[in-house]
């Protein structure tokens, strides 16, 4: 309460005391509820972290005991999965970010208003499609369609390591998984970027236009610099989704466990999440513990990426 402009005797003038006999019930209740909800987040996060750590301990200990043996190594088991997860997500982002920015800019600055709102609605719908459906669509329909493209890339751009190797049909390779992941992260990146672009101060855009900027120049000098932090945040949200995505990868990718950069080759990669999903039903004992350890790795990975994203957003925020 601001009391600075109230005369001292004005406060003492009314006969009733201003002191309240304890806090009002509604306030107390709401206060407890909101604090409780806030705490719940910490408790949940801590519970997940503790569960993952405790349950993966047997695998960590077993790995120690067997160290030196080629049969079993925690690191050897996990690293190819981390590699596959990060590679698939990175490729998905490389595909999705430019397209998302294009769509977001089209909706926010180029499309006629009615078309823009229809498009925005469709993008939101795309985000609501369950990942199982994407997995089905990707595995059954998209994979055969991509085959000619892969053959083309392999034939003419095989000198680039990514497209090297020997792709064989059906193309259940990392590239296909990445394409479907790209489709899945596209809506979130588009939606967040669009919101950010729409918030560009009108006065800034008019400043550029009044200097004789074309529409593209206005976007380049005003809209993109303004939205940079938001676009980074959007991409990281997309990355988070891609890293953890399970069903689509599981249903498309023929698994393997190598550090191969040949994304067109089948049976070379797998992702952490898809690996857990495919094996957890039959796993028990140390095997289960091993899977949970990879889950812990994924947990930490997404944590680190989120932290980096926040750092970038904070750094690239508007200077004042």
């Amino acid at each position: 309460m601001s009391t600075a402009d109230i005369e001292p005797d004005a406060a003492s003038a009314p006969p009733a005391s201003m002191k309240s006999g304890g806090r009002r019930f509604g306030d107390a209740l709401f206060n407890a509820l909101s604090v409780g909800s806030g705490l719940l987040i910490f408790v949940t996060l801590a519970a997940v972290a503790i569960f993952l750590t405790l349950e993966s301990l047997p695998a960590i200990i077993a790995s120690r005991e067997f160290s030196g043996s080629a049969d079993f190594s925690l690191i050897e088991y996990s690293l190819p999965l981390v590699f596959g997860t990060v590679l698939a997500s990175a490729i998905a982002l490389v595909i999705a970010i430019p397209i998302s920015l294009g769509i977001a800019l089209f909706i926010s600055h180029f499309a006629p208003r009615r078309l823009a709102s229809a498009l925005g609605y469709m993008i939101d719908l795309l985000a609501a499609v369950p990942s199982v459906v994407y997995g089905l669509w990707g595995g059954v329909w998209l994979v055969p369609k991509l085959e000619p493209l892969y053959v083309f890339l392999n034939t003419y751009f095989g000198w680039i390591p990514l497209f090297a190797g020997e792709p064989t049909a059906p193309m259940r390779n990392l590239a296909s998984a990445s394409v479907v992941l790209a489709v899945m992260v596209l809506p979130i990146i588009t939606a967040v970027s669009r919101e950010v672009f729409l918030q560009t101060p009108r006065l800034q855009e008019e400043a550029a236009l009044a200097l004789g900027a074309t529409r593209w120049e206005t976007i380049r000098t005003v809209v993109l610099p303004f939205g940079r932090g938001g676009v980074v945040a959007a991409s990281m949200l997309g990355l988070g989704r891609a890293l953890g995505e399970t069903m689509a990868v599981l249903m498309i990718l023929a698994p393997g466990a190598t550090f191969s950069l040949h994304i067109l080759e089948v049976g070379r990669h797998n992702s952490i999440a898809a690996n857990i999903a495919s094996k957890q039903a039959e796993a028990s004992g140390v095997d289960m513990s091993l899977l949970i350890f990879t889950g812990l790795v994924l947990f930490v990975l997404t944590f680190v990426i989120n932290a980096i994203a926040r750092w970038i957003v904070a750094r690239s925020g508007p200077k004042s």
Binding site: L203, A207, G212, T221, K319
Partner: protein
């Protein structure tokens, strides 16, 4: 460079969608002079100003019909690119709007670097100095050209915006209540600047402040509106002295003597 010709407006109607905002403006604006536009809120003076560099139409649904000639060329001709119009008719806004991510120097050069035009470092340095001197800002910022433009005071930011506008060497500078967000001292600095700028540029300024109009302008136009929802009209335009001492229209007299409404 040939001397700028008058701005010649004939029978201009300005719309927001179906709504006729300003009706039937006929006016000629003299070169290298300051023309002030005054009138009550909502009378269409800012709307009219924005049609002089085709900034009006950036608002969805907004358009203008009629003729606006600058240097004898109709800027509403179908073949005219509004981008080219805005390079020749610059604009300063109500609130200072330097580009927040750019340094002072880059702000001044922003317009010059558009359309992929390249400029050598020495030419850029010279242009920055000239534009900032032209905006009476050079002495205050010459030691911190690489600092962000947003770090300046409100009045300095507005002069930075003027520097940015004159750096592209327009023929006409439009000012939409450029001092409305400034303190009296900053306002005075801008008004002094307007006096200097009219040596080189044709200036049209919209102002809410009648004293300001009488201080800075050579000619003054009075806009009025018959009522809410009705279109605004240019009631009269004449030498500033005449408008403020002996206006020919009763509405103008009522407005300037404070008996409006």
């Amino acid at each position: 460079m040939a001397a700028p010709q008058p701005i010649n407006v004939e029978d201009l109607n300005i719309y927001y969608g179906d709504f006729l905002a300003v009706e039937g403006v006929d006016v000629q604006i003299r070169p290298r002079s300051v023309t002030a536009l005054i009138g009550p809120s909502g009378c269409g003076k800012s709307t009219f100003l924005r049609t002089l560099n085709r900034m009006h139409e950036v608002i969805p649904g907004a358009y203008a019909k009629g003729k606006v000639e600058i240097n004898g060329e109709d800027i509403y001709d179908a073949k005219v690119d509004p981008v080219n119009v805005r390079r020749r008719v610059g604009m300063v806004f109500q609130k200072a709007n330097p580009f927040p991510t750019m340094s002072i120097r880059d702000n001044v050069l922003a317009g010059v670097k558009l359309n992929n035009r390249r400029i050598s470092k020495s030419a850029a340095d010279e242009l920055v100095e000239r534009a900032l001197k032209g905006a009476n800002l050079w002495n205050e910022v010459k030691d911190r050209l690489d600092k962000p433009g947003m770090g300046l005071s409100g009045g300095q930011q507005q002069r930075l915006c003027i520097a940015r506008t004159i750096a592209v060497k327009p023929e006409v500078v439009l000012m939409d209540e450029p001092c409305s967000a400034l303190d009296p001292i900053s306002t005075l600095a801008i008004e002094d600047l307007i006096h200097e700028l009219k040596e080189e540029y044709t200036i049209v300024i919209v102002t809410h402040n009648m004293q300001q109009a009488s201080r800075v302008s050579d000619r003054t136009g009075f806009f009025n509106i018959a009522g809410t929802g009705k279109p605004g009209h240019l009631i009269e335009i004449d030498d500033t002295d005449t408008i403020f001492t002996n206006p020919s229209n009763k509405q103008t007299e009522d407005y300037i003597s404070g008996r409006f409404g």
